[in-house]
């Protein structure tokens, strides 16, 4: 096994912090970078990197937690689907406690909704073949890392001729919201830390528009503390030298080219649609819907009555997701909203920005910027 040890070696981390500090001092200014990916948000909080980076480098958490950016309407419809006779929902654990307009899947389960938490969409397919009398609906959320896995599961369902397996697609893709954030003058980003595992599938080439269209430095990074700090160091360097390109620092997993097998499968089943992002609104071409030829697998097409969505009052998840405010600036944070009784989705997912702050930054005296 390739050792992860050096990537957590305190000696190497110390020197990375030191290198970032001296680069930032050379530049003589402060930097705002966005970590796009929620797994980065989680890792940064867990390792306490934000505090050690100090005031020179501000890390803003972006819209990279699929659960957090999923609008409440998605879950409202999911619950409505789950209430149809003979339907059983299957979901990743990430979605289980996210509040909808009414309750979460967890609280609805107590009211009789049938819902299984699975590790893999293939486990949902197995469930469907074991219960041919039921209709199993998989709640398909996730970015370019996860959507191909769902596509592959659909391909398996076809190969194994499992007719009672359906999905309700809430998939989203990463580049469109980044385009929006890159052009947001209010955010004034100095660079982007790009999602490592999305890039395994898409290749890093897909992010070159950040440099060419917006002159923004960016770096693809892995998920250990050293990987993340390497990314930050690269962004400070590019900015200081006035350069802008995509630097791939996760070379052990990411190449310039996409995973073509995954892309083929994804394109076979999904087509881009306009999609609603919590806090950011509808972004053209930012979602993935099942293609019409797979309509028989699409639970999203089933006629159900979905109540008018109710956004939780006072919740500022939307602004948190854009990086416009940090969690403590939301009046509900740690008061009315905590991981045990979340109001907004950002407090639910372990990689949600609010949950990460609540767990890891609250006691570190992390002041709101």
């Amino acid at each position: 096994m390739i050792s992860q040890e050096p990537f957590r070696d305190p000696r190497l981390l110390d020197s990375l912090f030191q290198a970032i500090r001296s680069e930032a001092e050379l530049a003589g200014r402060r930097f705002s970078f966005m970590e796009v990916c929620g797994t980065h948000t989680h890792a940064i909080a867990e390792a306490g990197l934000r505090r050690r980076l100090g005031p020179q480098v501000r890390l803003i958490s972006g819209p990279g937690c699929p659960v957090c950016v999923t609008p409440v309407e998605y879950l409202d419809r999911a619950i409505a689907l789950g209430r149809l006779p003979g339907v059983r929902l299957a979901t990743f654990g990430d979605l289980f406690r996210v509040p909808s307009s009414r309750g979460s899947l967890e609280t609805e389960a107590a009211e009789g909704l049938r819902v299984e938490v699975v590790y893999s969409p293939r486990d949902a397919l197995t469930l469907a073949s074991a219960h041919p009398e039921e209709r199993v609906v998989f709640l398909a959320v996730g970015f370019e890392t996860t959507a191909p896995a769902i596509a592959a599961t659909l391909a398996e369902a076809d190969r194994l001729n499992v007719c009672n397996f359906y999905i309700w697609s809430g998939h989203k893709v990463v580049p469109p919201p980044l385009r929006l954030l890159a052009s947001d003058p209010g955010l004034a980003l100095d660079g982007l830390l790009l999602p490592g595992h999305v890039s395994v599938l898409t290749g890093w080439g897909i992010f070159e528009f950040l440099a060419t269209d917006f002159g923004l430095p960016s770096a693809v990074a892995g998920f250990t503390p050293a990987d993340i700090l390497l990314g930050v160091l690269e962004l400070v360097r590019q900015r200081r030298k006035g350069e802008a390109r995509v630097t791939n620092l996760y070379g052990r997993a990411v190449r310039r080219e996409e995973n073509a097998d995954a892309r083929r499968l994804m394109d076979r089943y999904f087509a881009p649609i306009d999609s609603d992002w919590r806090g950011m609104g509808v972004i053209p071409g930012s979602g993935l819907a099942l293609r019409p030829e797979w309509a028989e697998r699409d639970a999203g097409l089933w006629p159900v009555t979905v109540p008018e969505p109710i956004e939780p009052a006072g919740c500022r998840c939307g602004e948190v997701l854009k990086g416009a405010i940090s969690p403590p600036e939301c009046p509900l944070f740690a008061a009315a909203c905590d991981p045990d009784s979340p109001v907004g989705a950002c407090m639910v997912s372990s990689e949600g920005t609010c949950a990460a702050w609540y767990r890891h930054e609250r006691y570190r005296g992390e002041a709101a910027p």
Binding site: I2, S15, T39, P195, R252
Partner: protein, 75 residues
Amino acid sequence: MCLAIPMELKERDEYEAIVELGGVQRRVSLLLFPEAAVGDHLLIHAGFAIGRVDAEEARLTIEGLERIAAQARPS
């Protein structure tokens, strides 16, 4: 955004493989990464191999880290 964990490919057939990490095994699909071979370190996400972890590239990154350490603390 996406947890993906490196696991070693132990055996494979046409569509699936047994992968292992720290003595824990799971059957995963190879549909997204059919070229996987025994001994590869694969990134596993939600029961699917999505790519390979390259040992040589990992070594280069670690070398880079060591170079930064050497520059940060000139001896």
